[in-house]
Subunit: 110 residues, 2 copies
């Protein structure tokens, strides 16, 4: 694994769905960049034993954690604790880019 | 714990040493913002069982991981695997701000 990554260079949404680019992963965590075009979303879901952070790099988003909805923009981070339903959508006109951390890795690499 | 944090608002170095502001922590991870003024550093150290990421929000830095030195700027992330000596310094003239993620939490909260 390359220990240096350029997340600023990860730009450009996929046409059909949320784009995920992995930066790092170990048995203990993963770190991805997600890029969501206008109108794209990640449906609400649960990780029973892992916490996730969405840290907004650019754009605007709407993050759901349990029954709460957070309107977020660049410079906001949201913690989604293990067991809490969570998801994110891009209601804006610009690309939404997120730095995403999850620990422990739900599907740990060998 | 507040599940929404504004890391963009964390600015301003401490006069005497690296400033750390915790955003989130669980038994599984912590997420901090570090602010280093010009010339400030975090001395090289090791976490035997935890991985760390330094993600540069603004400024320029020099991150050491084992025997490697990475010159980094905003948009770069460096992974410091468990067991690897690592540290960071601010050799620049501007504030260096880092989003720092560690998993698992080395001193897990109750």
């Amino acid at each position: 694994m390359n220990l240096l990554a350029d997340f600023d260079a990860v730009r450009g949404a996929a046409p059909d769905k949320l784009r995920k680019v992995n930066l790092f992963e170990t048995p203990r965590f993963f770190c991805d960049v997600y890029v969501l075009g206008p109108g794209q979303s990640q449906a609400a879901h649960v990780h029973a034993g892992s916490d996730k952070i969405y840290a907004v790099l650019s754009g605007r988003g709407r993050v759901r954690v349990g029954d709460d909805v957070h309107e977020v923009r660049a410079g906001h981070a949201v913690c989604c604790p293990a067991g809490a339903s969570h998801g994110v959508e891009n209601p804006g006109a610009d690309e939404l880019r997120l730095l995403v951390f999850m620990a422990p890795h739900p599907k740990a690499p060998a």
